[in-house]
C-alpha cells in the first residue's frame, strides 16, 4: 500500500496530538525563554570571593582616595570613593567612577607595536617583542649620543606632579637634552605670579575650608577646578551648612560669562564679558583703594610697591596705588571692559572688603595657564585684602621632603647637549620670564627648527587631540624623525607614533601624587596597583630605568634603581628620614583642619613602615606654611611692583609692565567675517584631557550636549534668532583655524554673541563608543602667546555660525 498524502496527514495529526501530551513543547518554550541569558557576548561578572582594596586615584592630579571592589582578587568590578580618605571623604567624580572602563577598554594596546607602513596608518601597526622594541629605542638613543647630538631627543609628558615627571627630568639631565616638556597647566603661570610677588616659584594654595566669601573669577569650582574630590566634598559642607542655617557657610560669587554648573549653584552669578575677569579684579581693587577699604596696616607693613617708589637707578616709578587710581583704571573703565554696571562693581568690592574670610580664586581650569599679568591682578586683589599672612587665606603650596635624586654627573656629551638652548627658547630672547613652553617648542619645531628632533617620546599625553589649538602639534610631528608613544590606548597621538611601548593603566602600577592643587597642606600619597597587569604592558618608569641601565656610564649612575617601585620606595624612605608630617588617620577632616605651625607628630616608624601605610591607600600630610616667612623677593616683602621683572617695555618707561594689569584678548580674524566669539568650556562630566570620555560618562550627557553623533554649541536665544537658528538646528561653525558641523542649543545662560562649546568630544581615535561623537573645539581655538612668560593659552577664537 502506498503511504499517500492522506496517510501522512493522519500520521502528522496523531504526532501533533502526541506531542501536545508530552512535556516537549513546554520544555522548549521554557528553554527558549532563558536561552538569551547565556549568549556569549552578554557580560557576566566573574563569581568568587569579594575583596576591597584602597588606593589613590591618578586619573587626574586631585589625589582622591578610592576603593576597588575585586572578584577573586583579579577582576575589578567597582571603584568607589574611600570614606576614610581626607581629600574626598568618600566622594568620587564621574571619571574615577567609570575608571575601570580604561582598564578593560577594547582600545587598549596590549603589547608593543610598531608602524610598518606610513605614519598614521591604523592598520600598519604590527606586534613586536618587548626586547626588540626596547633595543630599537636604545639603539636610536645611543646613536644620537655617539653622534654628539643628544639634544635631538625630546619628550612630552602629561604627568604634571608625580615622581614619574622627576624621573624623566633626571633622565634628560643625564642623557643630555634640554627638550623635556610637560603639557600646559595652570600652575605654570601661577608659579610665575608667585615668583614675581613673593620671590618663590611655587604654586599657590587656598584655605577654602575656612572661607566665608569666595569671589571666583571664572573658576569652575565644582567643574574640575583644583582637586575635584576636595571641591565636591567642600561644596557638600557648604550646602549642608546652608540648609541647616548653620554658619559658617561660604557665600560663593561666580564671575564668568557663561552660567556654568558652579554659576548655577553659586549664591550669585555675575555675568561679564569673556576674558575680562582680571579687569574686574582691578576694578574691585580700584574701589577698595579709593574708598580705603583695603587692609591698610597689612599693606603698610608687608607690601612693597603699593606706593610710588624709586628703583636702583634712582628713577621714580609708579606704585600700584597710583596705577589703580589713574584714569585708565577708573571705575568707568572697569565697567566698560567687563560689561558690568559700576554700582555692581562697588557692591562687590564692599562685600569682599568687609567679609572676614573673603578670598578671590581664579584659573579657568587645571590645564590652562593664564596671562601672567592677569594672575598678578587676582593675586594683588588678595594682597589688598591681606590674605597672604600667617593663618591667612592664601599660602604657598608646601613642598614634600622626598628623598633627593642622586646628583647627575653629566658626561661631556650630556654637557654639550644641555648647553644647547631647548627648542622653545631659540627665539625667546624677548620673553622676560621665559620658562619651558610646549607651545613654543611645537611652534618652532613646525616652522624652521634650528636643529632637528630625531626622537620624540610622548608619555601619558594626547596633544594631537587635547592640546587647544592642536594643529600646531600636527604640524610639528611631521618634522620629527621617530615618534615613541608610551600610551596604553590607541589615541590620536599613538596613531601618529612609529612605535608604541604601552604603559600599564593607572590601576595596574605604582605611582605617586606629590601635593594636591590648591591645597594649603603638604600632601603625598602612593597609588598602589589594585590588580596585576592584564596585558603584556610595562611601566614606563621601568622602561626608562632599563634604558638607562643599558646605556651605562653617567646615565646609569644617575638612575640607579632596579625598578620604578624601588625608586618610589627610596623616595618614601627619604620622606620618612625627614621625620616631618604624619600619615592621616581615619578622621576624615584631620588633614584640612591642621593649622599652620601645628605639624602633626610622626606616626610612622621608618621608611618601610611609611611605605606600607602609603601603599595601603593612606596619605602623608604636613601643616601649611606662613607665606610671609617664605618671601624671597628683592625687597624682602610682598611685591606689587615687580623688581624681578625686567623687560624692554619696562626700560622704555612703561611702568605698568611691572604692575598687575589687564589687557584684553586680541583675537585674529576680521570682525565682519567673524562677528561672534567662540569660547570653549570644560565640565566634570566630560573628560577632556589625556583620557577620553568613557562610555559610562557619555551615558550621562544631556541630549542638548550630544545627540547621536552631533555635539551642540550653546547660544543665547536672541543671538540664535538674529542668525535665523533654532533649537537643534545644524550649523557650520567656522573660525580662522577651521570649521566643523555642530547643532545649536538655545541657552539663556549664554552671553549674547558668544558661542560656547564643550571640550572632550570629537575624538578621531579609540573605538566605536568614543570616536566620531561630536566636534573638538581644540581644532578651532586660537593660541595666544603671553609676551611676558612665553606660555601659550587657548580658550577662545573669533567665529561665525551659519545654517548648514
Amino acid at each position: 500500500m502506498m503511504f499517500g498524502r492522506r496517510a501522512f496527514l493522519q500520521f502528522a495529526a496523531g504526532a501533533v496530538g502526541g506531542t501536545l501530551l508530552s512535556p516537549l513543547p513546554w520544555k522548549l518554550a521554557d528553554d527558549s525563554a532563558i536561552w538569551s541569558q547565556n549568549w556569549s557576548w552578554r557580560p557576566s561578572p566573574e563569581r568568587g570571593p569579594i575583596t576591597k582594596k584602597a588606593t589613590i586615584c591618578t586619573l587626574c592630579e586631585g589625589g582622591c582616595g578610592i576603593r576597588a571592589r575585586l572578584v577573586n582578587g583579579n577582576r575589578a568590578v567597582l571603584l568607589e570613593g574611600n570614606p576614610e580618605h581626607p581629600i574626598n571623604r568618600g566622594g568620587i567624580c564621574p571619571l574615577a567612577a567609570s575608571g575601570l572602563q580604561f582598564l578593560y577598554a577594547p582600545y587598549r594596546i596590549t603589547q608593543p607595536i610598531k608602524q610598518t607602513q606610513k605614519r598614521g596608518e591604523a592598520s600598519g601597526f604590527k606586534p613586536i617583542p618587548w626586547d626588540e622594541a626596547m633595543s630599537e629605542l636604545l639603539d636610536k638613543l645611543v646613536n644620537l649620543r655617539t653622534g654628539g647630538t643628544p639634544h635631538a631627543v625630546a619628550c612630552i609628558t602629561g604627568q604634571g606632579q608625580g615622581s614619574m615627571r622627576d624621573l624623566w627630568q633626571q633622565f634628560f639631565d643625564a642623557y643630555g637634552s634640554p627638550n623635556f616638556f610637560q603639557m600646559p597647566s595652570h600652575s605654570d603661570s601661577l608659579k610665575l605670579a608667585a615668583f614675581l610677588t613673593l620671590g618663590k616659584e611655587e604654586p599657590l594654595a587656598f584655605a577654602l575650608e575656612k572661607a566665608s566669601y569666595i569671589l571666583s573669577f571664572g573658576s569652575d569650582l565644582i567643574g574640575g577646578w583644583g582637586s575635584p574630590g576636595r571641591m565636591l566634598a567642600l561644596w557638600g559642607d557648604w550646602n549642608a551648612a546652608q540648609s541647616e542655617n548653620k554658619t559658617p557657610s561660604a557665600k560663593i560669587i561666580q564671575i564668568e560669562s557663561r552660567c556654568s554648573m558652579s554659576a548655577a549653584k553659586a549664591d550669585r552669578w555675575i555675568p561679564i564679558i569673556p576674558g575680562s575677569e582680571a579687569a574686574l579684579a582691578l576694578g574691585i581693587a580700584h574701589v577698595m583703594v579709593k574708598e580705603n577699604l583695603y587692609d591698610t596696616s597689612y599693606v603698610a607693613t608687608n607690601v612693597f610697591g603699593f606706593e610710588d617708589w624709586t628703583d636702583s637707578q634712582g628713577k621714580a616709578r609708579q606704585g600700584f596705588k597710583s596705577f589703580l587710581l589713574a584714569s585708565e583704571n577708573s571705575l568707568e573703565e572697569a565697567s566698560r571692559r567687563t560689561g558690568l554696571e559700576p554700582a555692581k562693581i562697588v557692591e562687590l568690592a564692599k562685600d569682599f572688603a568687609t567679609q572676614p574670610n573673603a578670598v578671590a580664586v581664579w584659573g579657568k581650569s587645571r590645564d590652562l595657564p593664564e596671562k601672567v599679568h592677569h594672575e598678578l591682578a587676582f593675586l594683588a586683589l588678595n594682597v589688598l585684602k591681606g590674605n597672604l599672612k600667617s593663618q591667612g587665606m592664601i599660602s604657598l603650596a608646601p613642598s614634600v621632603p622626598l628623598g633627593p635624586m642622586p646628583q647627575v654627573l653629566a658626561d661631556e656629551v650630556a654637557q654639550q647637549g644641555l648647553a644647547r638652548k631647548s627648542l622653545d627658547q631659540v627665539k625667546a630672547q624677548d620673553i622676560p620670564l621665559s620658562r619651558k613652553s610646549l607651545y613654543g617648542f611645537l611652534k618652532n619645531l613646525s616652522e624652521a627648527p634650528s636643529y632637528p628632533i630625531e626622537v620624540l617620546m610622548i608619555h601619558e599625553a594626547n596633544p594631537a587631540y587635547s592640546l587647544p589649538g592642536n594643529q600646531v602639534f600636527q604640524k610639528a610631528i611631521q618634522k620629527v624623525g621617530w615618534v615613541v608613544s608610551f600610551s596604553s590606548y590607541m589615541d590620536e597621538t599613538s596613531l601618529q607614533a612609529d612605535i608604541i611601548l604601552p604603559n600599564h593603566t593607572a590601576f595596574e602600577r605604582y605611582d605617586d601624587v606629590i601635593g594636591v592643587p590648591g591645597l594649603p597642606q603638604a600632601y603625598y600619597a602612593v597609588a598602589a596597583p589594585i590588580l596585576p597587569p592584564q596585558w603584556n604592558t610595562r611601566h614606563s618608569g621601568d622602561v626608562l630605568l632599563q634604558m638607562s641601565k643599558n646605556m651605562g656610564g653617567s646615565v646609569a649612575d644617575a638612575l640607579p634603581w632596579k625598578s620604578y617601585d624601588a625608586f618610589l620606595q627610596d623616595r618614601v624612605k627619604g620622606l620618612a628620614a625627614s621625620g616631618r608630617g604624619a600619615v592621616a588617620q581615619t578622621s576624615a577632616r584631620q588633614l584640612q583642619e591642621t593649622p599652620e605651625g601645628a605639624s602633626p607628630k610622626a606616626n610612622y616608624k621608618d621608611g618601610a613602615d611609611l611605605w606600607k601605610k602609603l601603599a595601603s591607600g593612606q596619605c602623608w600630610y604636613d601643616a601649611p606654611q606662613n607665606p610671609l616667612q617664605l618671601v624671597q623677593s628683592p625687597s624682602g616683602k610682598i611685591e606689587l611692583a615687580f623688581q624681578s621683572l625686567q623687560s624692554k617695555e619696562l626700560e622704555a618707561g612703561k611702568d605698568e609692565q611691572c604692575l598687575p594689569n589687564f589687557s584684553s584678548i586680541a583675537l585674529s580674524g576680521n570682525e565682519k567675517e567673524y562677528p561672534l566669539t567662540l569660547v570653549s568650556y570644560q565640565a566634570l562630566f566630560l573628560s577632556h584631557g589625556y583620557l577620553p570620555n568613557p562610555p559610562f560618562m557619555t551615558k550621562t550627557l544631556w541630549d542638548f550636549i550630544l545627540r547621536n553623533d552631533d555635539s551642540f554649541v550653546e547660544l543665547h536665544p536672541e543671538t540664535a534668532r538674529s542668525l535665523g537658528l533654532d533649537e537643534g538646528n545644524r550649523a557650520v561653525l567656522k573660525t580662522p583655524a577651521g570649521e566643523c558641523i555642530v547643532r545649536v542649543h538655545l541657552f539663556p545662560g549664554a552671553r549674547l554673541d558668544v558661542i560656547y562649546m564643550p571640550q572632550g568630544l570629537g575624538h578621531k581615535a579609540y573605538d566605536q563608543y568614543i570616536q566620531s561623537k561630536g566636534a573638538n573645539p581644540n581644532e578651532l581655538l586660537e593660541v595666544q602667546m603671553d609676551p611676558v612668560s612665553g606660555l601659550g593659552t587657548a580658550w577662545a577664537a573669533r567665529a561665525q555660525l551659519r545654517r548648514a
Binding site: 500520521f11 502526541g18 506531542t19 508530552s22 516537549l24 541569558q37 547565556n38 570571593p49 577573586n72
Partner: protein
C-alpha cells in the same frame, strides 16, 4: 458504491491506525527520547572522588566566608593545601598537579547547580533556616565518581539547575516572600 463504502471503512480503520502510530511515536519521542536529545553529556575536566576525601569535613572545602558569602566549589588554592605534590599514581592526580596546580590555573569545573546572573541567591539564610544541603543538591557522601554533566543544548544550563517554580514552591510552603525582589535584585 458498496465497494466504495467497504473501502472507506477499511480506510478509516487504517487511517486510525496511522493516526495512532503517529500519536505513539510522538509520545515516545516526547517522553523518552527528547530528554536525552535536549541534553548533551559533558565530562568534567578531571575526575574527583568525594569518598576519597572523607578524612576532611564538608566545611573544609565548602564553607561560608567571613562576609557571609558561600565559597561553593573550592578554588585551586584549596587543592594546593594537600596536593602540592601528587598524592597517588592516578591519571587524575597527575592532571591535577601538572595541569592545574603547577600552572596555577583554576580547574574549569562545570557547576551542576549554576544559577543565572539575574538570580540573587544566598546560601546563608537557607542554611540558617535549617535546610539540609541535600534538599537541593545531590548527596555526595558516598560518591566515587562525578556524574556526567548534562548541558541543555539550547540554553547552556545544567540539567540540575533549579528552576524558578521549585524556588517559589518551597518559599510558598514555608511562608517566605515570593516578591520579585526577593530573588531578582
Amino acid at each position: 458504491m458498496n465497494e466504495e463504502k467497504k473501502n472507506t471503512s477499511g480506510k478509516s480503520r487504517v487511517g486510525g491506525a496511522i493516526f495512532f502510530a503517529g500519536f505513539i511515536v510522538a509520545l515516545v519521542f516526547g517522553w523518552v527520547l527528547s530528554p536525552n536529545l535536549i541534553y548533551s553529556q559533558r565530562m568534567q575536566p578531571m575526575q574527583f572522588s568525594h569518598v576519597a576525601h572523607q578524612d576532611s569535613s564538608c566545611e573544609d572545602c565548602h564553607f561560608f566566608r567571613e562576609d557571609g558569602t558561600y565559597s561553593g566549589i573550592p578554588r585551586i588554592e584549596k587543592c594546593k593545601e594537600c596536593h602540592e605534590a601528587p598524592m597517588g599514581e592516578t591519571e587524575d592526580e597527575r592532571i591535577l598537579v601538572e595541569e592545574y596546580i603547577q600552572k596555577d590555573r583554576e580547574i574549569p569545573w562545570r557547576v551542576y547547580a549554576w544559577q543565572p546572573d539575574n538570580v540573587y541567591f544566598s546560601h546563608a539564610p537557607h542554611k540558617a533556616g535549617g535546610m539540609e544541603c541535600v534538599a537541593c543538591h545531590r548527596d555526595v557522601s558516598s560518591e566515587e565518581k562525578l556524574p556526567p554533566y548534562q548541558e541543555n543544548r539550547l540554553t547552556g544550563y545544567s540539567k540540575n539547575t533549579m528552576k524558578m517554580d521549585a524556588c517559589e514552591k518551597c518559599h510558598a510552603d514555608r511562608g517566605i516572600s515570593n516578591n520579585c525582589n526577593t530573588c531578582h535584585k
